[in-house]
């Protein structure tokens, strides 16, 4: 690729026009209010952490976080009611943020997930109280102390608590709200990092089994940073190809409708830039959704992270990352569908099959749920591949349905405990149905929803994505999906068998009685699972109305 002189002259002209003034950016604060509310709450949380006395922080942080999330949800609903999800959809903040149906739908979902997650983070009834009688949560008393050291013991004795988790969560939520709404690749990259960095830290904060937790954080961080580097290099290549990073601009260049410039004529002649760039962006996103072959981190991180954080990560990250994937593929790169679709076919098939088959061999509940989340990423990908409006609405619906099942399932995992903390080894769950029928039945319901049994939300979601895929002609994908559902059903059923038909062990775990926080979280999970299973029409319709991207 040689550079013609015209480009140099272009450059010279651009550089010499120094008299131009940069216009003040025009920011639509109202339309960005969901994100602003959450980031505001996060900043306030940091201030509270700095200035409030330790004993007041817990309730203050919960209050701030909840206020921010409720405010964000109200903002989303108001924006949707004003028609921003439909006719008034447009680009805000100088084209950096799309305020449209998919954005608002996913932002609403993420905020609700965050509400339930914050309830889980706030749980202080499960761990035995500290020696001074202070209630204790699921996080390390002081993250900086070395596990097993005197410093840690004295921190635990004084009843310290890592209340920083709330502002960290709020920053992560803010990034997640921005990620699916980002309308240029730079905003998308920044959002990716804004939600990833707090998650790396949250992973390292478990109170019990801190070595596992730190190990999970290191793995997640190194692989996460590795994948973001791929995303960034992909961004650079796409910028090189299209000369712009805005979603609409890329789409124009890719489909050949952009105003041709000599530089563009030169770079767009080189399809390698486009294809390699898209592939690298895809690596970054597929890593976040946990699709095979970029799934290796999922089981370790899910197992090591504190369980409430795992639930949050498994649901919210997936929602945000699939949202961004949809926007990228549907709004920026529809012009090269025929290039990326075969690759995604392969990824989806691999993800479904590998996730389902490896899950069969798992012996740890959290790892099992991790592999199940990989298999579900595959199911969602079949909806993404559909490349039609039904595909978008199906994916949106599936994400909402799936995330509440996941939250509920991980919340149940926090309840089953023995002396060493949570009893996550599957053999310890034997006979749980005899000992605590209600908890076991709730978990069984979530497992049945994962398996996609009719009258649960999992079935409605699976039906929606498979139907979208089938109507776009991807029948083989649907058949692979159905077969791997059968395999997946096997291991969910295995857990149910274990809980109900095995004899309880004499030294088996006990089921802790949670506070109202976790109880609410689980109840919400059950409610959404059954509600979206039996009466999905309203939400399907909502997702259908919200399925048009603006660019």
């Amino acid at each position: 690729m040689s550079v013609p002189d015209t480009v140099h002259s272009l450059w010279t002209v651009a550089a010499s026009s120094t008299t131009q003034t940069i216009p003040t950016p025009h920011i639509e604060y109202g339309q960005l209010s969901p994100m602003l509310a959450v980031f505001g709450a996060a900043a306030l949380g940091i201030l509270a952490e700095a200035f409030l006395p330790r004993r007041n922080r817990y309730w203050a942080q919960i209050g701030i976080a909840m206020a921010g999330l409720v405010g964000a949800f109200v903002a989303v609903v108001v924006l949707a009611a004003q028609g921003y999800a439909g006719t008034k959809a447009h680009l805000a903040a100088m084209g950096a943020v799309a305020v449209d149906g998919p954005s608002l739908f996913l932002q609403g979902t993420i905020v609700l997930i965050a509400v339930v997650s914050v309830l889980g983070f706030a749980e202080r009834h499960l761990e035995p109280r500290s020696s001074t009688g202070a209630p204790v949560d699921a996080f390390a008393p002081q993250a900086a102390t070395v596990p097993g050291s005197d410093a840690e013991k004295s921190a635990a004795r004084s009843g310290f608590a890592t209340t920083e988790v709330f502002p960290l969560t709020m920053f992560a939520v803010g990034g997640m709200l921005l990620f699916p709404a980002a309308s240029d690749l730079l905003t998308m990259f920044v959002a990716l990092e804004v939600f990833s960095l707090p998650l790396y830290l949250l992973c390292a904060l478990a109170r019990r089994r801190r070595l596992l937790s730190q190990e999970a954080a290191v793995k997640y961080f190194l692989l996460g940073a590795f994948s973001s580097a791929f995303f960034l290099f992909g961004l650079a290549l796409i910028y090189g190809y299209a000369g712009t990073v805005s979603i609409g601009g890329i789409a124009d260049v890719v489909s050949g409708t952009a105003t041709p410039t000599p530089a563009l004529a030169n770079t767009t002649a080189n399809d390698a830039l486009l294809l390699i760039g898209l592939a690298m962006l895809g690596v970054g996103l597929l890593f976040k959704v946990g699709a095979v072959p970029f799934h290796a981190w999922t089981p370790d991180v899910y197992q090591g992270a504190p369980t409430p954080v795992t639930g949050f990560m498994a649901s919210a990250t997936k929602v945000a990352a699939f949202g961004a994937t949809l926007r990228l593929l549907y709004a920026a790169f529809p012009g090269v569908t025929w290039d990326w679709r075969p690759v995604l076919w392969g990824v989806a098939i691999l993800t479904m099959v590998v996730g389902a088959i490896i899950a069969v061999t798992q012996t740890d509940v959290k790892r099992l749920l991790a592999y199940s989340s990989i298999a579900h990423a595959g199911f969602i990908l079949t909806g993404v591949i559909a490349m039609n409006k039904a595909g978008v609405s199906a994916v949106l619906f599936y994400l909402g349905a799936y995330s509440f099942v996941t939250l509920g399932a991980f919340a149940v995992v926090t309840l089953v405990r023995d002396a060493g903390g949570e009893a996550t080894h599957l053999s310890r769950w034997a006979g749980l149905g005899r000992r605590s029928p209600l908890v076991a039945a709730t978990f069984a319901l979530f497992l049945l929803a994962f398996a996609g049994i009719p009258l649960t939300s999992g079935f409605a979601g699976k039906f929606a994505v498979f139907q979208a895929a089938a109507s776009s002609g991807a029948t083989p994908l649907v058949i692979v999906g159905v077969l791997s559902s059968a395999v997946a059903a096997f291991f969910y059923i295995r857990v149910i068998v274990l809980m109900f038909f095995s004899d309880p062990r004499p030294d088996g775990p006990t089921v802790a009685v949670p506070s109202a926080f976790t109880a609410t979280a689980i109840a919400l999970g059950v409610l959404v699972t059954l509600g979206l299973g039996i009466l999905p029409q309203y939400f399907l319709h909502l997702a259908d109305q919200a399925s048009v991207f603006v660019r």
């Binding site: 990259f189 920044v190 960095l197 790396y200 390292a204 590795f226 090189g240 990073v245 770079t267």
Partner: protein, 99 residues
Amino acid sequence: MNPVNYLYLAALLFTIGATGVLVRRNAIVLFMCVELMLNASNLALVTFSRLHGNLDGQIIAFFTMVVAAAEVVVGLAIIVSVFRTRHSASVDDTNLMKL
């Protein structure tokens, strides 16, 4: 000089970084390799900015630097806390969880 050569350099740096992440075992070195990849991206962005004659790429490079700095803060915090626990920064030692 033809600016395309900078792209070759960027690609080379990125490849070195990626290879380093895959073959090296020390968490700090791994992390430095990731930084190398980010900087390779910066170089590519700046070069493309020159090729296209617009400033977007250079602005993105600034953003990348800020993001990379934040990443260093978080990453070093995690790696240091693991190091203090285990007195080792080798990623081969962090193997409590296996399939």
